[in-house]
Symmetry: C2
Subunit: 287 residues, 2 copies
Amino acid sequence: MEVVKLKEEVRRVMEKARRRSASIGFVPTMGYFHEGHLSLMRIARSRCDFTVVSIFVNPIQFAPGEDLAGYPRDLERDLSLAEKEGVDLVFTPAVEEMHAPDRSTFVEETEISKGLCGKSRPGHFRGVTTVVAKLFNIVGPCLAVFGRKDLQQLAVVRRMVRDLDFPVEILAAPIVREADGLAMSSRNVYLSPEERRRAAGLYRGLEKGARYLALSASSDDLAPIIRNLSREIEEETGGRLEYLTPVDREMIEVEKAGDCRFLAAALRLPSARLIDNVEVPAGEPYA
Amino acid sequence: MEVVKLKEEVRRVMEKARRRSASIGFVPTMGYFHEGHLSLMRIARSRCDFTVVSIFVNPIQFAPGEDLAGYPRDLERDLSLAEKEGVDLVFTPAVEEMHAPDRSTFVEETEISKGLCGKSRPGHFRGVTTVVAKLFNIVGPCLAVFGRKDLQQLAVVRRMVRDLDFPVEILAAPIVREADGLAMSSRNVYLSPEERRRAAGLYRGLEKGARYLALSASSDDLAPIIRNLSREIEEETGGRLEYLTPVDREMIEVEKAGDCRFLAAALRLPSARLIDNVEVPAGEPYA
């Protein structure tokens, strides 16, 4: 496994890989790997000849006051885990390598990114689409794998790829959960023992809500269902829901249960903000 | 020479070219070719194994009320000229092929694009950067050639390529002029005989101004020079200057003659808006 810090080095390695017609799979990450990240690497490896992972805590996707400085990092552990997964190249650029001080070009998605997390994290998705576009241009993958936990990010990236004609297939990987159902996230490390114990209430609530929505497919007023469910989740977890929203597959809020494909939520606990989503069991499976 | 209308067909042709390791040169155009366009194709051909030209009147780079509907077109003549230049592939997409009705992702440069033409053409450069990003992703060139007449566009595209890490070298081609000095432009066809006769006064004024700026390298108040020159150009051409601006190589307005690399102008005549620029003869040549 090669580990490089410079874009130029990535390009050189990729050119060699392409010259031998290797198909290139890519997993962009912010590091501090858990099973979710590793599952993305396994998917990329199973589909492609050459697997690239980037580890970059991208400052421009953090809104002011967010956890940029404290974001958990452990590069040595990450590299050893990536190597065990058979990753071929890890790209670990410094901030200066990725963002010129006078940078002035951004990629912005203006519809899907507005609701849900976009409301409380101004500039977040613009930072995501900009850095993903850059990474695609540096790595040149034919496939990139994103986790379904960040479902709005996935929808925004897919829209970007469609609108800007990136020659990259986007694959959505299932959410990996802890034994009690809590979606794995690098930010779970922020939780106090008490918060951690109650955090799985978010998943249980979403699951219950999704089953209920599936049974209420003819309902065209979801507000009371959502209201009751919100109260339950907040009581179980001790947190405050930033949103609990029934959405279609592009993460646009829906009003009728029959149009609902996912139930998505963001929960604020004192030490962390958690997001999660579950599929409403109806219609074709999401892939 | 192949002529295709679909992105998918471009990708198929380019994959074949890449498989035989051909270097790919690209000239994005809005068609209605004049010698300026043909010079770009010659440069691409001389530098690359495989030359691609796109012809696409991109609606999202026209501000409301601009000349989108009346923009001159002559596809048959364009194709015959491109063929004579030895172009390998011409991409002539329909609007629907390039822009989904629900498109929502844009590439935006936020500094260089704000002044000069950006002031009077809201959304213009966002439309340019978005479509150029798309075309780069569709064609996958290693080199793209842009004319220096659209000098701000060139600077914006270069900034975009740098900021988003497009693996594309941007080459600037010299302005091609008519015998009397008028910069060639597809829009010159809009000029009445009287306007056409006087239009070269723009170039003559810019040339004179550039020589004067080169001689005034120590001056740090350019306002009076610009004021006098403006009056002269407006008298000679019968037009109204939208701007006449001394700029650095990134098209940012400068205040001291010594920092000035180009003198750039936009001139409104009753039937057309003309842009032009000349290099201030000092320092290293612009390439």
